[in-house]
């Protein structure tokens, strides 16, 4: 049940999604990954992908145009 971070600031789609997919694959069930993004398209496709996988997802706007996507791996 550890928490990991993934810095994708300054990275455009589809890089954040690819990095997230890879990182989630390395985690264990129950772990939480916090992905930092500032590209609005990643705010759509990263959570969409994670929800489709059945993970728990929360998006937090940390600053104007900067978000944290919090993903709890559920399976």
């Amino acid at each position: 049940m550890a928490e990991f971070t993934l810095d994708c600031l300054g990275e455009a789609c589809p890089v954040p999604l690819m990095k997230t997919e890879k990182k989630i694959g390395e985690l264990s069930v129950g772990d939480v990954l916090v992905v930092s993004i500032d590209h609005s398209c990643a705010m759509k496709n990263v959570p969409e992908w994670a929800r489709k996988q059945g993970h728990n997802v929360e998006i937090e706007e940390v600053d104007d145009g900067e978000w944290e996507i919090i993903i709890e791996k559920t399976k």
Binding site: N56, V57, E58
Partner: protein, 406 residues
């Protein structure tokens, strides 16, 4: 992982037009307000390409653009936003709880604007091809991907026909499966006339979906003629379902009163069966579901929640007097007789310093009277130990007042 608990005055579940409006009203009333939205702030309206009937925008607005403005306005009034799913709720009692996977939010009032989700056909293999595998619910989102292709639309309501016509701008052919007889559609007459004369649109009457077929992706929809039972395979690249919505009310089953379809039942103040819990927008059992009506719902609930919270404060501190003796006179300010009785209570207050006397005008607001189970004045109540001890109706005299206040 331990869930973090946070306190709010009002938590609003859902982030569509109704919820954003409720947020604007609560935020402006200086209530600490949180809106929880599971996907996109703006809700269903963001799926509509053009909104032509929302007043104030004579040139029309895009759903996304309009909802962005709502969002901005709510933020301006200090409303907090959380973009995540609500996992559980507990709505009974004074402090209500709304849980997400990382937090527990405690609120004094909860406003539910959770909207709905698209209804499915229930046909065979439907689950296998949902969303990016060929079955879509949003022409605005997926039309461009169908440029030069053949698509099918299921349904004949406003959404089906209008989105179908939008699809003709991209797709080569739009085949519409309609359940009804030839020429009969559920949409408005203008859309119907336009659709029937659109050369790219083709109609298959008296048909429903029997199954969805394909490999990795959908490539064939097998329709069934409802009259003859005959199967009709149609090759398509995508299929769009516009056959109505189902309310998002699973979390409230057995707790809040709903109709047979699962929509929440409220009164005209948007109050549900539980005090301090409101339902607004498309999740509510109502006559017309539009941005314009959602806004009205949101305003009513936002205002109602604000009044509920201030009345709760007065009720606890003044009326119940925190367990100490309290005499409450409920009167109607426009009724001369009940107004004439007011001096009796003023006199009582002067001679009994140990008793808190409150005179409540139900003409202004009936919230507190309702909490005391009183429908109309004049009525005097003797309260002690947070309970109504005696109730005096009709003949109210100094002798009677002194008799009940023991």
């Amino acid at each position: 992982m331990e869930k973090k608990t946070e306190q709010y005055d009002v938590v609003i579940i859902g982030g569509g037009a109704a919820s954003l409006t409720a947020g604007i009203y609560c935020g402006r009333a200086k209530l600490k307000t949180l809106i929880i939205e599971k996907t996109l702030v703006g809700g269903l309206a963001t799926y509509t390409n053009e909104i032509e009937n929302y007043p104030g925008f004579p040139d029309g607005a895009t759903g996304l653009g309009l909802m962005d403005l709502f969002h901005k306005q709510a933020k301006k009034f200090g409303v907090d936003f959380k973009l995540t799913d609500v996992k559980a709720v507990s709505l009974e009692g004074d402090i209500k709880k709304v849980e997400t996977f990382r937090n527990v939010y405690e609120a004094k009032a909860v406003i539910i604007g959770s909207g709905g989700k698209p209804r499915l056909t229930g046909a065979r293999n439907e689950e296998r091809y949902l969303y990016d595998k060929g079955i879509s619910f949003c022409a605005t989102c997926d039309a461009a991907a169908n440029s030069g292709k053949t698509v099918m639309v299921i349904g004949s309501g406003d959404a089906a026909i209008e989105e179908g016509m939008f699809l003709t701008k991209f797709a080569d052919k739009v085949i519409v499966s309609v359940m009804h007889d030839n020429g009969k559609m559920d949409c408005n007459e203008i859309a119907k006339a336009q659709a029937l004369s659109n050369p790219k649109m083709e109609f298959l009457w008296n048909t429903v979906v029997d199954s969805f077929e394909g490999d990795e992706r959908l490539n064939t929809v097998i329709l069934k003629n409802v009259k003859t039972g005959e199967a009709l395979p149609v090759q398509v690249d995508s299929c769009f379902l516009f056959i109505g919505y189902l309310p998002n009310t699973e979390l409230f089953q057995g707790v809040l009163t709903m109709n047979r379809g699962g929509y929440l039942i409220t009164n005209e103040r948007m109050e549900t069966n539980l005090p301090g819990v409101y339902a607004i927008g498309d999740v509510r059992d109502k006559f017309l579901k539009q941005v314009a009506t959602a806004v009205g719902d949101g305003a009513v609930a936002g205002y109602g929640a604000e009044r509920y919270l201030s009345e709760s404060e007065v009720f606890k501190k003044q009326v119940m007097n925190e367990g100490n003796p309290s005499l409450v006179y409920i009167y109607n300010g426009v009724d001369t007789y009940s107004r004439e009785l007011l001096p009796l209570f003023k006199d009582f207050e002067q001679s009994h310093s140990e008793v808190r006397v409150s005179c409540i005008d139900i003409y202004k607001s009936d919230g507190i009277a309702k909490r005391l189970g009183v429908d109309e004045g004049p009525c005097a109540l003797w309260i002690k130990d947070n309970q109504i001890q005696e109730k005096l109706e009709g003949e109210i005299t100094p002798v009677e007042i002194n008799r009940i206040c023991r």
